[in-house]
Amino acid sequence: MQLKEKITIFFNNGRAKYALILFLIIFVLSLFSELIANNNSLIIKYKNNYYFPIFKQYTDAFFGGNFPTPADYNDKLIKQNIENNGWMIKPIIPYSYNTVDYYLTGPTPSAPDAKHWLGTDEEGRDIVARLLYGIRLSVIFAFLLTVISSVIGILIGAIQGYFGGKTDIILQRLIEIWDSLPQLFILIIIASVFLPTFMSLLLILLLFSWTGLTGMVRAEFLRLRNFEYVKAAKVLGVSNFRIMFRHILPNALVTSVTFIPFIMAESITSLSALDFLGLGLPTDYPSLGDLVRQGKDNLQAPWIGCSIFIVLSGMLSMLIFIGEGIRDVFDTRKNS
């Protein structure tokens, strides 16, 4: 089947089509978070010079203020000073994920209004900005986790299935032992010793997530290695490595590819769960799980809980729909 046909089949599934389009729009937008939600201005014309504060930091004193600290472009004095000597373009949301709005009139978390479309969280930070940065962080995290753990999983599964016999049995027992380790407790211990960062958390989750695909790839290799085209390749003298990756893997990959969006959804969930429990990323990261926790802790401020619920469930549903679309593409019974 050609790629063109595959794409047509994918887009024939309406749900998958809209999910993919929406997901891509949101993800691409979130990649440019700095231009959409930022407490720094995009461009400033000040005394006939152009400045780009998102790339370079200027001090308060530089724009006519009193302090040698970084300029706060939401500050009235600075605003007025700049507008008197030129102009400035601000991002649509003039707050970054970690900007605390000191000009709030009420107590935090404050309700949605014209300034904060979805309100602020308990520390006075804009929720839209946090969601935007949070989506980017968790999608990139989940993507890396999925890709790396799939590569490791497929490699190990391929070795198990292709060589079979003792190699298979030994590896299979090791994976079973590894899988039965209490993941959560190990994470708690690690989190209490080290302060988790993006990379260390990725590594820790990777330790346990790679086993997800091995079973399936192993089964596919066990099935496919008995096919006559594999035997013919052996008789031709093709190396084991080449048989595994050029002859068997493309045929075994179908089932794995189908699972990748589901694994990605799972990865987003596990990162959010860890953040929710306070075992994940430190609070200065814009994490979705931390917003879930805030939603739970602040039931009097339903805008937190509602917005994070819609974003998380929407994103996970979209991934599932995309997964279903991909499954349709590789479903030979449906397409014949």
Binding site: K231, A232, V235, N251
Partner: protein, 264 residues
């Protein structure tokens, strides 16, 4: 091709006491408790440029014997190619002995195009060949198996059984083997296509002085192509002889049964 090979009576490929056993039951520690002897001390000789037919019912061990000839199953006993011992720890396969399988739907990789499928052997055995020379050889072998050039970018599912069997043949022949083991190459095909494939095999044999081992349960097909025939039952050889001799004066009752069944 040297002159020696052209001498009709030279033995090019032979097996000596070939035995294949499968473990049916193993103890916890891997000790074999019960086993099945699929191929039982079979010896054979294949002369250069000739065809040795192997017939027998399903389960008689024909295919297992074929697999052991290309070292795809563990076996005891020896194979000799031009009186050189084949298959030791360092030589698991031999360029000069290739195999064509029964099921043309299973024997071509569905995710490789025909060019890549045929080219694979060249990549292994002639890695120094330039891209143009590679293509030239692929085109040449394609002509030999009577296929058009336009099949090259296509994928196996676009072909009929007979065409696929030609592609499988091209894949085996592109590296110019001397011995081709044909494991029921015609049994998955229609009768008319069967005749075409057998005709093609005969032509190729003459042209390249190939030696065939032709395995089938179809007595008519075997008769049409073989110089000598070996009849197998339950992993053992029950009768061997030239084609005429075997069909005209079968000695063993099992051979008689097979011949009788094929006439019906």
């Amino acid at each position: 091709m040297n002159l020696q090979n052209k001498k009709q009576n030279k033995c090019i490929f032979r097996g000596d006491g070939v035995t294949v056993k499968f473990a049916l039951k193993k103890s916890f520690f891997g000790k074999v408790l019960q086993e099945l002897t699929a191929v039982d001390h079979i010896s054979f000789k294949l002369k250069s440029g000739e065809t040795l037919g192997i017939v027998g019912e399903s389960g008689s061990g024909k295919t297992t014997l074929a697999l052991s000839m290309v070292n795809l199953v563990k076996h005891s006993g020896e194979f000799y190619y031009n009186e050189n011992l084949l298959y030791d720890q360092h030589h698991l396969h031999n360029k000069d002995i290739q195999i064509v399988f029964q099921d043309p739907y299973n024997s071509l990789n569905p995710r490789m195009n025909i060019y890549d499928i045929i080219c694979e052997g060249l990549n292994v055995h002639f890695p120094d060949l330039s891209k143009e020379n590679q293509r030239e050889r692929v085109l040449q072998i394609l002509k030999e198996v009577e296929l058009n050039e336009d099949v090259l970018p296509k994928y196996p599912h676009e072909f009929s059984g007979g065409q696929r069997q030609r592609i499988a043949l091209a894949r085996a022949l592109v590296i110019r083997p001397q011995v081709v083991i044909l494991d029921e190459p015609t049994s998955a095909l229609d009768v008319t296509i069967q005749a075409q494939v057998i005709e093609l095999l005969k032509n190729l044999q003459q042209k390249f002085n190939l030696s065939y081992i032709f395995i089938s349960h179809d007595m008519n097909a075997v008769r049409a192509i073989s110089h000598k025939i070996m009849v197998m039952q339950n992993g053992k050889v029950v009768e061997t002889g030239s084609t005429e001799q075997l069909f005209n004066q079968p000695k063993h009752t099992y051979t008689k049964q097979l011949i009788k069944a094929s006439i019906l």
